[in-house]
Point group: C3
Chain length 363, copies 3
């Protein structure tokens, strides 16, 4: 237990944990102070995400390579998942879908772009392992395509009924999860040498003992769930107050908050000239959202949600996801980066953000 406190003292980011009780108490006392609760819940979610990420890694480190890898991969986007579940239960499917699309776009453009920029400001030209980057970029591209097929087809043909979309979404969710399972076998069993280096590169600090790690994992997950609920409840009203569209909130705000933990690792990797780590995180997270988080949410919507959720995204989101994944494929292709490539990736992200911010709300 002292370990956790030591870590908290050591890491200024974790001081933000103080906002966790504040937001939960605030919700009881002033449930109508949406804007304040929204800001507080963001401040509370960021350190929780960091803690969750550290706990996951500790559990993974203790449970042997394969199980550990599996845990790491599956719980790597736990924060995003819990936030999305809170939105799912509240029936806010537009927000759920926006956060799925936003996580893919944010990881592909913002995390990768900022890594290239931060690394490039320190090093003239950075190289990364072209072969594994290309393989991972291909996986991401195909995973995203698989996710987008129904939207592309249905966009093309507006006469299709909802019944078709629902049935198709369940079928695809099963196929995506199957692919995810095979992908786990691939990256943890048959071809682990192509992926493992990046995963284990960063862990200088010793992991926590297993009991502590599991307990932290459990407690923090519950806390994330509680805070997420406040976040999801307040987000709509707060967005209005800030003049933000729901699309902007889901795409940009939720994705940045949920992914804050991985971003830290990706950026620090880039600053240490270990771009393989950054590329692995950016591409790996995106693939995982497409192949695991999205289909799980679809299937869970039959149990948890007020109505089934399908996999049909609004056309603008489809365009952004396609652009993001094609971009990643092209950019990681050369195995080299310089600061301006990072600027361009972030600029595309910024343009998406500005567009979503200005987007008039749907009537």
């Amino acid at each position: 237990m002292t370990k956790v406190f030591k870590e908290i003292l050591h890491n200024p980011l974790l001081w933000l944990l103080a906002f966790v009780p504040v937001v939960l108490v605030g919700q009881k006392l002033k449930p109508e102070a949406h804007t304040l609760l929204f800001l507080l819940s963001i401040l509370a979610l960021v350190p929780l995400a960091a803690l969750l990420s550290h706990a996951t890694e500790s559990v993974a480190a203790k449970t042997g390579d394969v199980v550990g890898g599996l845990l790491n991969a599956t719980l790597g986007n736990l924060t995003e998942m819990v936030i999305a579940l809170a939105a799912l239960q509240a029936g806010q499917y537009v927000l759920v879908k926006a956060s799925i699309a936003g996580a893919i776009v944010t990881n592909s453009l913002f995390v990768l772009g900022a890594s290239f920029l931060l690394g490039g400001l320190k090093y003239h030209l950075q190289e990364f392992n072209r072969v594994s980057a290309r393989l991972q970029a291909s996986l991401l591209f195909l995973a995203t395509i698989a996710l987008l097929v129904p939207s592309v087809l249905v966009k093309a043909d507006s006469t299709l009924q909802a019944a078709f979309t629902g049935k198709l979404s369940v079928g695809l969710a099963v196929l995506l999860l199957l692919t995810y399972g095979l992908g786990m076998t691939f990256s943890l069993r048959t071809h682990r040498e192509m992926f493992s280096s990046a995963d284990h590169a960063e862990k200088a600090e010793p992991p926590w003992p297993i009991g502590l790690a599991v307990a932290t994992l459990a407690v923090v997950t519950v806390l994330v769930a509680l805070v997420s609920e406040v976040f999801i409840e307040s987000v709509q009203k707060a967005a209005e107050a800030f003049g933000m569209t729901p699309a902007f909130v889901g795409f940009i705000v939720v994705a940045l908050v949920g992914g804050s933990a991985e971003m830290g690792s990706a950026f620090s990797g880039a600053r240490k000239n270990r771009l393989d780590l950054s590329v692995g995180i950016a591409l790996g997270s995106s693939s995982q959202i497409a192949l695991f988080v999205a289909p799980v949410l679809v299937l869970l919507s039959y149990v948890l949600g007020p109505a089934p959720m399908d996999l049909q995204f609004w056309p603008g989101a489809v365009g952004m996801m396609l652009i993001a994944t094609i971009t990643v494929s092209l950019v990681t292709n050369s195995g080299r980066s310089a600061w301006f490539v990072g600027v361009l990736l972030m600029m595309v992200y910024l343009i998406f953000a500005v567009t979503l911010y200005l987007l008039p709300p749907r009537v």
Copy 2:
């Protein structure tokens, strides 16, 4: 003649030739048994395609390098062509277009994916010639783009009249055939060293004598034409009986049946760690469909069909073709493959297939 029979005895696949007379007699006796005739005609077309492919190779081997290469390239998709011609004559343009699009998608995703998977199950990492794969993938990409331009532009602008589409389609067909001719010059004359290795790698068995080969070619083509007619006549009704949409039949069933011969070569190449052969077949067949089969069908529709056929595909088919060719370009780019890349390619194909299967029929 004994050679052909020996081959038939030797190759269990060719025993299916017994279904050729069965389907032709069946058509006379029970023309209303659509489902049965449909299944029988598929069983009959598969060995005919194999025989046609072998005969073409034998003729090609005997007629010298350039003429042989030309024959091989032009008759390589003869089965697809004859089936499409039968559909053209029956005025089933939706089916013709679906089979064009389906052949491109099937070769790019299924043939390549299954080759990667089959090869990858035997070899940890497989390498193939990156330079020629990239060049071929570029050709495929540009060929598909050329084919799709009218659909993309017309999709974008629904006010365009049919007259414009017809005129444009003829113009483009001429341009595509011109490109095909130049492409032949390129791959058979000026740059044959980049393509020839893959073509001639597989032929362990001695070719048939020229007389036999030409006779087989002629007879089998006639048989394919006869069986195709039964196939096309029965396919619509059979599809209804099986609950399959016409889109699914054209895209998936026709493409798999027509391409069965090449698939055999591609898969056996992959199992022998000669991925260059598999990649060459997958990409070469797709390019040929786009640059040769499609424009020839458009031009022949003025002679054979009840009305001119244009090159405008339904938007979903455009999306699938674009996705398939971009995917191929990205995947062949690294010059390496592993089993999971094959899984992903096939998964995208499977997703297309499931979507087309579930697609409610147009009203």
Copy 3:
């Protein structure tokens, strides 16, 4: 001054300068002879573009590396810019946008394709610097994406109001110019070694003295502006007379005329087996149009135009630009080219041209 005359005598292209006074006088005497004035103004613009390009290079060569590079990069598309400004002032926004899109497509497909073809007819396989080509292709891709985001999003959602598009366009113009500034820093300061070789490779002939060069630059710019005005005034009527659609004129004719100077350098580079130069010109010009010319025109429309111009392109133009830049990324990826790759690039361009030519005019 003798230098300029010597150059004119030396270079038969510059004899066309004789058409400059002819077109200006013609405009006064016979303002209604649109077709004749249109043809004369094209004949006058081509040598002016060549002279402008030479003068810019001379000024650049004299003013030191950084300022020179900046001048070269910024004034490299001066002819396109001045023509577009003339159209902007005349309120012909469709033509302005078509010329922006057309310049990107023409540089990516026609200039690159013709360079590959011309070079490939002389050399069996040509190699170019893969690393810098990929980096430049990534920049072009991201630049074009940035330019296209509003069109893609707005196309996807037709309920968006014009107010949104206008506000978004100004925001994006600022972001694009910022990116352009950073890109200048990148290519002229921090990573100039990746770009400079191509820029300075071609200049065998000694530059003009600075005074002469600046004077020429000023005089020729004014002449281009005067002739452009005639060109823009006559183009509409002339197009009708030739049966050309306005889309064809903007996309193809204006782009070819405006870019004639760079084309000369790109082609001669290819014939000398210096494909790096050709690739650099084709990709560099395209990026510059997207990042500099387009946003400057948007911002200037608030000052010079009768009404603000936005960045929304018609869907067909979006499709062509996307296809062109994806194509360039794929094709330059291998670092090799052969004549048939050039044929394919030009064929895609030709298909665009034929389609635009046949396109029925909007009502």
